[in-house]
Amino acid sequence: MTYRLAPIDTSTFAAERAAAAAGRGVDGGDFTVIGSVVQRSDARGHVTGRTEFFEDVLPPRLAHLKMHRSARHHARILDVDLTEALAVPGVLRILTHADIPNNLYTPLKLIGVGPDDEPILAVDKVRYLGEPICAVVAETEAAALEGAARIRVAYEDLPPVFDVEEALKEGAPLVNEYHGQNHFIYEGHHCRRIRFGDVAEAFARADHVFEWRYQSAPIEQAPAETTGCVVVPQADGRLRIHSDTQACFFTLDNTALILNTPFNKLRIVGGTVGGGFGGKVDVVVEPVACVAAMAADRPVRFVYDRAEEMQVSSPRAAERIYIKDAVMDDGRIIGRKATLYVDAGAYARHSPYGTTKAAAHLPGPYAIPNVWADCHCVFTNRTPSSAMRGFGVTIADFALESQMDRIARALDLDPLRLRLLNAYRDGDLKAHRKVAEGTALVEVIQKAAELAGHELPEAYRRMSSTTREGL
């Protein structure tokens, strides 16, 4: 096998490099990083096993927390019986919703998004399979598991809804009473909308109209290290939270609001994350572990097992996207209509934001003069979805670029030329009323074509993001 170690382009900043190498110039010393191999600052810790992950923290008298979770997709809770669970040797405490100071929250309230729509521990209803109901705190992990298994919950089943379009129909079961309907409200509107130009006029005069449907499944981030934390009560009454959250301050602020405690009562020790990919942005383990640590007055560890990570940690949302395009014979797209549904699952978490991102991303990196989009953030009885690598954008791109390829195939056009013809240029007004600047799609496609040995005619090779040449 042949391979190279870190190929480096040192052609940039040649003069500054030379000056730095010669030890001259005021700024010369600043130009030593780009274009040279820089060791990761954490690599030595990783290869020696000395990097401290949260689960490597083993304080004395550590207690363990395990969750009793909903066995139903959608049900009223009639009764919770803790008798048998409390009799398990080693069980210290069992927390219910009544033990959580502010049991109702939504993580984006920190940036003014509401309403609070999710209980830390279920109160009178469960809205998805695996929703936390009671937290068992015990001397050992085994005792906590045994206790959780012995909690008896009586349910009255409610009809569940699992499909985004079904959920929006009249008469669909209401998933989340805090919203009052099965979708998020955007400033008084039923969805996040884009209205740009006149798509009806574009469809009327188009040579071709193409409409296709795209559907993605939820995607679990599946980090190697599962979600968790260790909370250690301090002598001064503060709580030290060792966590693998991707969002230390976000977690601290939300946890403080849930505990109804000043922010300075909490300290997060974090930053070392055994893989996250967006899956460790929600605030799901720290608040209840903090309450447990205060109730038991002992350090408490709450960490998902692999099954919990796969089942209840929030995945990338499933999306359904309909795209209808008005296209001329030469491949110019003169109108695009998109209807997009994000399956938020039972609670909002970060999906209202993800849906807005999806809307802002439409109609893709193309200058289309007439755009209409309705982007719905929909509540269903599925596992709440949330952040994952470019959420809102990634699945929209899958749909948009699949659509471009299908149009090219239908009109027997080169898919790269179709894109070059429609690519946005600097100065174009985008559908959400921002002016495109610093665009480079034209150049990227040209370079990709060159590297792939894909022939482009001279007129397409001369196109540029900064001019209208060839349009």
């Binding site: 954490d42 290869v47 096993g49 000395r50 990097t51 190697a224 290290e225 599962t226 055994g274 990919f277």
Partner: protein, 161 residues
């Protein structure tokens, strides 16, 4: 069943500790001996993050009841950098950017050590086979495979550092 005193040779030193019945080698290393380099990723033998060497063979420590390996020799990542000096595999992982979040690294390095102990000149296919029980979710496997081949070259002295 009562707890028992278990004795292991860990990274060349004899260590004794009290083990509850059925406790795993992973829990013993991490909680009784304070050796936390081996990680719990799945606790069901599927991800390889807890891999250590038992008498030189890679084992997923989360599935090994510690009393079944009493008296045997266990090597963990803590025992690899002798005297604080990184070995060829560790250095190659650093140089080839084969670490990202670091969670799979201990297991990857231990299977690499076992492979190179057995076969100083592995093929790429041998390396892929050796790490086939270890999950990485960040870098992808390419830099890890490259690092292990690079470590083998360095260890054979074919390439000076």
């Amino acid at each position: 069943m009562p707890s028992q005193i278990v004795s292991l040779v860990v990274n060349g030193e004899r260590r004794e500790f009290i083990a509850a019945p059925g406790v795993t080698l992973l829990a013993s290393l991490r909680e009784s001996l304070g050796l936390t380099a081996a990680k719990r990723g799945c606790a069901q033998g599927a991800c390889g993050t807890c891999t250590v060497l038992v008498d030189g063979r890679p084992e997923v420590a989360c599935l090994v009841a510690v009393e079944t390996v009493a008296g045997r020799s266990v090597r963990t990542l803590e025992g690899v950098a002798a005297g604080g000096e990184l070995d060829e595999v560790q250095n190659a992982f650093v140089d080839c950017f084969a670490t990202q979040c670091g969670f799979c690294t201990a297991g990857m390095i231990m299977v690499a050590e076992a492979l190179l102990d057995r076969d100083p000149d592995p093929s790429e296919a041998d390396v892929v086979e050796a790490i086939s029980g270890n999950v990485c979710r960040c870098t992808g496997y390419r830099p890890i495979v490259i690092a292990i081949l690079e470590a083998a070259r360095r260890r054979r002295g074919a390439v000076s550092r």
